[in-house]
Symmetry: C2
Subunit: 208 residues, 2 copies
DNA sequence: TGTGTAAGTAAGTGACTACCTGCATTGTCG
DNA sequence: CGACAATGCAGGTAGTCACTTACTTACACA
C-alpha cells in the first residue's frame, strides 16, 4: 500500500542527492518502491511532485523558540544556536541543492527561505530585547549581530564536511563557541544573569 | 578566431547559470559562438572542459593579503573583509552551483575549496598574531573567530539576493559591520592603534 | 456478485543529450 | 602556389528524459 507520503519522502531524498535535473521520475519511483506511472497519476508532473515535497519539508522545522524576555542569554542563545545548527546539518544536502537552483527555479527556493527568515526575525527580536534591558555593554545593531551568528552557523553546517579544518573543533562545541563570541561582541558578561537586578559595572582585563 | 579561452569563459558562464547537468555542450557552444564539435576537438569531453574551466577560475582569486604583523587591525581587517566579500559576491552563482554538486562531483568541488582554505589560514594567522601582541582584551580561539567572520561574510554573499531583509543595510557597509563586531568580540578597541606602545587598560561602560 | 478505484505492466512518443563521421571551408606559412 | 591545421556544416548514433496510451490486476464496498 504505497501512498503519497512514501513518494514525497522518496522525492525529497532523491532531490537531496541529485538535485532537480538529476531527480528523474524513474529514480524517484524506484526509491519509493512504486511504479513510475503512479507518480504522474498522483502528482501530474515531476515539477508538481518536487514542489509539494519541498513544501512539505519546510513545514517540519521545529526550531527552539527564544523567550520574549531574555533571562539567561548565554543559556538561551546557546540552546537556540544548537537547535539551529542541528536543523541545518540534518538538511545540509537539500539546502545546498536548493541554493544551487535559485536561478533556475526561484519559486522552489522561495519557500526554502522561510525557516531562516523566521529564525532571523526571532533572533533579532531577542537581541533587541537584550539591548533594551541594558545588558549589552557594546554598541551593536541587532540585525547585524543576528546575521553574524546565523551566518557563522550556516556556513559551518554547509561547509564543515568539505573543509573540516577551517571550522572550530570539536564539531559538537561549534555552536556554543559562536554563541560565546557573539555575546562577547555585544558585551554580555559570561555568568548567567540570575543577578539581573543588581547589574554591576564590568571591567575587562587584558588576556594573556 | 575563437580560441580555447572563449570556450572556457563561456563554459564557466553557462555552468554558473545551469550547473553541470544543465550545461549542455550545445548551450556552451552557442554561448561561445563556436560550433559544438569544436568543443570536443579541443577538450575531448564535456567533463574535461568544465573541469578545466573550474580550475581556471580558482587560479584568478586576488584576495587582499593580511600583514604578518598587525598594525591597524580595524583598517586591515576591514579591507580584507571587503575584498573577501567582493570576491564571493562576484562568484556567488558559481559557488552555489559548485556547493550543490559536492555529492555528485566531489573532485570539482575540491579545487573550489582552495580559496576559502587559504583565506581561513591567513585570517587565523593574523588573529593569532593580534592575540600574541596582547591587543585583544577577550578570550577567543583564532579559528573560531575566523570561522565566525568568514561565515558571516560567506552567508551574506550567498543569501542576500534571496533574503535581503535578514542582512544588515546597506549592502556596501555589511563587511565593515561584521568586522567591527568581530573586533568587539575579541576585545580590540575601536581607534586605530598607532598607539601600540602605550597600551591602556580599558574600561567598558554600559550602553544606553 | 457487480462496480469503482487505485495500482501495475508494456509499449511507445518526441525531445534532448554526449559524442562521432565525413566532408567542405578557411586562414597561415613556406 | 601548395601543404597543413583549425574550424564549420550536415547528418547520425545510442541513450535518456518526461510523459502518454491502452490494457490488466487487486481490493473495497454495496
Amino acid at each position: 500500500m504505497h501512498n503519497r507520503d512514501d513518494i514525497l519522502a522518496a522525492a525529497a531524498e532523491v532531490f537531496a542527492q541529485h538535485g532537480f535535473r538529476g531527480s528523474t521520475t524513474r529514480r524517484i519511483a524506484d526509491a519509493a518502491g512504486v511504479n513510475e506511472i503512479t507518480i504522474f497519476r498522483q502528482f501530474g508532473s515531476k515539477e508538481a511532485l518536487l514542489r509539494e515535497a519541498m513544501h512539505n519539508l519546510t513545514q517540519s522545522a521545529g526550531l527552539e523558540v527564544l523567550p520574549a524576555v531574555p533571562a539567561d542569554p548565554d543559556r538561551e542563545l546557546t540552546l537556540w544556536s544548537e537547535s539551529f545548527i542541528k536543523h541545518l546539518r540534518l538538511r545540509s544536502s537539500i539546502i545546498r541543492k536548493t541554493m544551487g537552483e535559485i536561478e533556475e527555479r526561484p519559486e522552489m527556493s522561495e519557500c526554502a527561505s522561510d525557516v531562516p527568515r523566521r529564525a532571523s526575525a526571532d533572533l533579532c527580536h531577542y537581541l533587541a530585547a537584550l539591548k533594551r534591558q541594558g545588558r549589552t555593554a557594546q554598541k551593536f545593531e541587532p540585525r547585524t549581530a543576528a546575521a553574524m551568528l546565523m551566518g557563522a552557523i550556516f556556513s559551518d553546517a554547509m561547509g564543515r564536511e568539505m573543509m573540516p579544518d577551517v571550522f572550530p573543533q570539536p564539531e559538537a562545541k561549534a555552536a556554543p563557541m559562536y554563541t560565546r563570541l557573539l555575546l562577547q561582541a555585544i558585551g554580555v558578561e559570561n555568568g548567567s544573569s540570575r543577578t539581573t537586578s543588581k547589574q554591576t559595572r564590568r571591567t575587562k582585563q587584558l588576556s594573556a
